[in-house]
Amino acid sequence: MIKHLARGVMTAVLVLTSAVGLGVSASAEEDQFAPTRAFWTQYGVPAETQDALIAELLAGGTIDAFDQNAVPVSSRQHTTLEDSSTVATFSDGSILVTSRERPDRRLTSNSVTPDAVTTYLGDCSVTSGAGWVSYRGCNVEATDGIRYIGYKASYEKYSSGNAQILATWDAHVSCTYGSMTTPTVAYSRLQSTSTQSAVVKRVSTWTGTGGNSSETMYLSLWVTRAGAASVGTS
């Protein structure tokens, strides 16, 4: 599901980037901003606000939703049958949507909060026996709207003994700008200990177009001794 959100945001950014960077005509701009407008309309951004935001972007400015330091002026829940999203609205009217599966389907206890990043852990096939629970084929994902990393993982927890990560595979990345290397396993401690969680970290390097920037990006799966799983970005 995070992919759906990421795709929406990425589409919007890609469209904005293309429209602004290429200096297209007014009518072409309107066509290219159509998906962005649809995204904003879906979450109740007024047409007048949309006009102002697009004008700001065309003028080379920025919008609050893409500013890491911006603080939302309001936040509300947007719930469908499948998703529970939080829509954060900023002072210029731009929005940031973070989305997760419905709480009753989530495996982690991470709270749903507005943020520039969405991490996701879910879609596991769960089986259990006497004193153990196995989570297979879980999707581990994270995106900041520009860059996306994901992989699959399986792990197990036990009523007595240390939890363990069995495997991670099917790593994949995508980005709307620049390029990313295939995520490799950078670090793994497959079995938890009395003092440390089990962890697998996969890493990718993102390089911006034209060599203007580069960055190391991690996506890690942590499992505590008690079997509580969470996703990190370091």
Partner: protein, 242 residues
């Protein structure tokens, strides 16, 4: 707001870089990006970084001029020693700010152990975040403490586990090297324990090295962050050009 927490940079690295901001601004100013000049976003980012770390305004302007001219700041040249060093110790980290002759700075830090997570709280912050395990035999192990450095255009770091004892201290493990570069790219990054145990000649240390190539010239530079362990504590040091 978990991922925006300023108190835990462990989770706020690559996600909090204003990439979208930079991309959008860059898209709006294709000529500027193509010429290799300093973008408005990088300029604002640097000014904020310097202001927070008490670099005077005129010095900031002079450093920006050097950057735009393709010249290398002293902090990254490897040809100058710091003219002053300021150390700040908080409950969460040991931070060192080194100032070079042209006013450029390197801010390095190493995370210090914090109290254990509240019962019942589960999340990324609850795991492996510079945790302390004390045994009854006179040693303290600190796991996954973040060592970080930034010059404004290059931020890099890693995680280190080490052991404090009544005698010589030692490094247990290092992992997860990371680099973020603006105004250029970083490559050939390496992380290693250079000296595993403290001895009579000095501290144990590990370091991350990377080669930074500025987009607008100035040649490539080797940059290094060292995390040192000894005398029952840990600290950091910045090196360039070695």
């Amino acid at each position: 707001m978990m991922l925006r927490s300023r108190g835990d940079r462990r989770l706020s690295r690559w996600w909090t870089v204003p990439a979208a901001l930079a991309l959008l601004a860059g898209a709006g100013q294709p000529a500027q990006a193509a010429s290799g000049e300093v973008t408005d976003d990088l300029r604002a980012q640097l000014k904020q970084f310097w202001t927070v770390n008490r670099v005077p305004g005129p010095t900031q302007d002079a450093l920006l001029d050097k950057l735009e001219a393709g010249q290398t700041w002293d902090v990254m040249s490897g040809e100058s020693a710091p003219v002053s060093t300021r150390t700040v110790r908080t409950a969460g980290e040991n931070r060192t700010i080194e100032t070079y002759p042209d006013g450029s700075i390197a801010v390095t830090s190493i995370q210090m152990p914090t109290s254990t997570t509240k019962p019942g709280v589960v999340g990324p912050l609850a795991v492996g975040n510079c945790r302390t395990s004390v045994s009854g035999s006179g040693y303290t192990n600190r796991y996954d403490c973040q060592a970080n450095s930034t010059t404004g255009v290059v931020e890099m770091g890693f995680y280190i586990s080490y052991s404090i004892t009544g005698g010589y201290d030692s490094i247990i493990d290092v992992n997860s090297p990371y680099v973020r570069a603006d105004g250029g790219t970083a490559s050939d990054t390496s992380l290693a324990i250079r000296k595993a145990a403290e001895n009579s000649t000095g501290s144990a240390y590990a370091s991350i090295k990377t080669i930074y190539q500025a987009r607008n010239g100035g040649g490539s530079k080797t940059l290094e962050l060292r995390a040192l362990v000894g005398q029952n504590t840990a600290w950091t040091r910045w090196e360039a050009g070695l």
